[in-house]
Amino acid sequence: MNLFQLALKNISGNTFRSFVVALCALLLAAFALFTTLLLRGAENSLRLAIDRLGADIVVVPEGTEAKVEGALLMGVPTKVWMPQDVVKKIATIPGVEVASPQLYLATLTGASCCSVSNMFMIAYDPQTDFTITPWLMQKMGKGLRLGEVVGGSYIFPSEGYQNIKVYGYLVTLKANLEPTGTGLDQTLFMTFSTAQDVSSKSTTQALAPLEIPSNSISSVMVKVLPGSDLHAVSAQIMQTVPGVTPIESANMFQSYRKQMTGLLKTILVVMGIAWGLSIVLIGLVFSMAANERRKELGVLRALGATRRFIFQSLLAEASLMAIIGAAAGIFIAGLAIFLFRNFIMVSLGIPFLLPSAGVFTLWVGAGLLLALFSVNLAALLPAIKISRQDPAVAMRE
């Protein structure tokens, strides 16, 4: 009988003990993977959202930063306005390459004239836009025409319909953007002319009209010239244009980043406590098992098994249980986060995007290693103690 067979026999010999140790490994690996996936997924999602916006600086009306960030990140519609002449002022600032205005709109809540209730809509100026237009040109070879829209990955017409009804106006969905795990996935993008057309027709076609204040915009996307100092351009915007706040891309979604840092700290503390308790529990189970099997291991030693063999068999047993438990834990955690990702996003109020297969495999490996290390660490002391006992004394007891 080799080391592996002996370890397997011992595991099946005491199912309940093995189950407790494997359960500890399962919980440890599952918790570690779940939290890592959650936090990395949120960070990944934030980065993608910033990339999708494509702007170096987003200029919003003063005091509306949190509202705009909430709209872009969680798809919570917001209506913020500032004068349209802000765009011209920003465009003339040295270091600014392009300044493109956007309108933030929303569909009505629970109205039959809108296919989707309270949906966030962004209208852009196709003449200056650098966020959606380059992607459209690459994908379709042309921009959007009147009545045409582009949606986030979650936007689709209702079953049996080809168009989306917005304020009683039927718009045609031309394409869907890649998922970002943020509110941009639930956002409808259209040109200024389509937004104005919807607005003018909504007075007769909708339950309530779509109101766009004249000569007003919601935000300005700014791209700076290569080599320009982003901070200097931001400061210049603050000085030159009163009543607006420039948000640099690196500082976007700061409130969510702070929220995630707080969450990370709490999770690390909980995980540290869970890890410590698991090691103590596994150590205790192994100590009890080692005492129970004193005679059995004494016989093995009397039959010629070396101390090293006894020590290795105990650690092999621990490793096997750790791998079985951790594999089950990783399977359950991975499946749960995949299936419940939307619920997690909504209930925790954070964006989330699943990682690529390569990154996921890396984290699965890390989870297995953590469980393997923890269980072996807990089993080390009892294994040393029992492998050093005198076989004659052990068999007599």
């Binding site: 639930q186 359950i332 499946l335 299936l339 939307n342």
Partner: protein
């Protein structure tokens, strides 16, 4: 191991039987209203009703697994448990379905809960089947 899996079956049966009834759109106050003014529950509600049946079957499988001693019985129970798990997955995905809107509660909680529980029930059935076969080999 088989007894532990019997306990797992009972827990899963409770989840499959109870959770969908409290996470379908009807429980959240959402229903279809016909032109005649009649209120009709959506697909997710009927999935929740069907899941109660699956939950009862899986619960009985769990109880019998805890009480049984014969390997033949374990193998039969694992088969029924596996089919129940497959049904728990099939009801919200293929057989009945849930609402089309991904933002609805049934899509966010009811469907994932049934799929996850179904997969775990199938896994537990496979473990029981494997363990009962192994014991047969040892006896034989």
């Amino acid at each position: 191991m088989k007894k532990i899996m019997g306990g797992v079956f009972i827990v899963l049966a409770l989840v499959i039987g109870i959770v969908p009834s409290f996470t379908d759109c009807l429980s959240q106050g959402l229903a279809l209203t016909t032109t005649t003014g009649l209120t009709v529950p959506m697909k997710c509600h009927w999935t929740a009703v069907a899941s109660i049946g699956v939950g009862i079957i899986l619960g009985l499988v769990g109880i019998f697994t805890l009480l049984s001693k014969r390997n033949e019985t374990f193998r039969t129970l694992s088969g029924i448990g596996g089919v129940s798990g497959a049904l728990a997955i099939a009801f919200p995905t293929v057989l009945i379905g849930v609402c089309a809107n991904p933002a609805h509660y049934c899509n966010m909680v009811e469907k994932p809960t049934l799929i996850l529980s179904g997969i775990l029930a199938i896994t537990a059935s496979a473990v029981i089947f494997g363990a009962s076969r192994k014991n047969m080999e040892v006896v034989g």
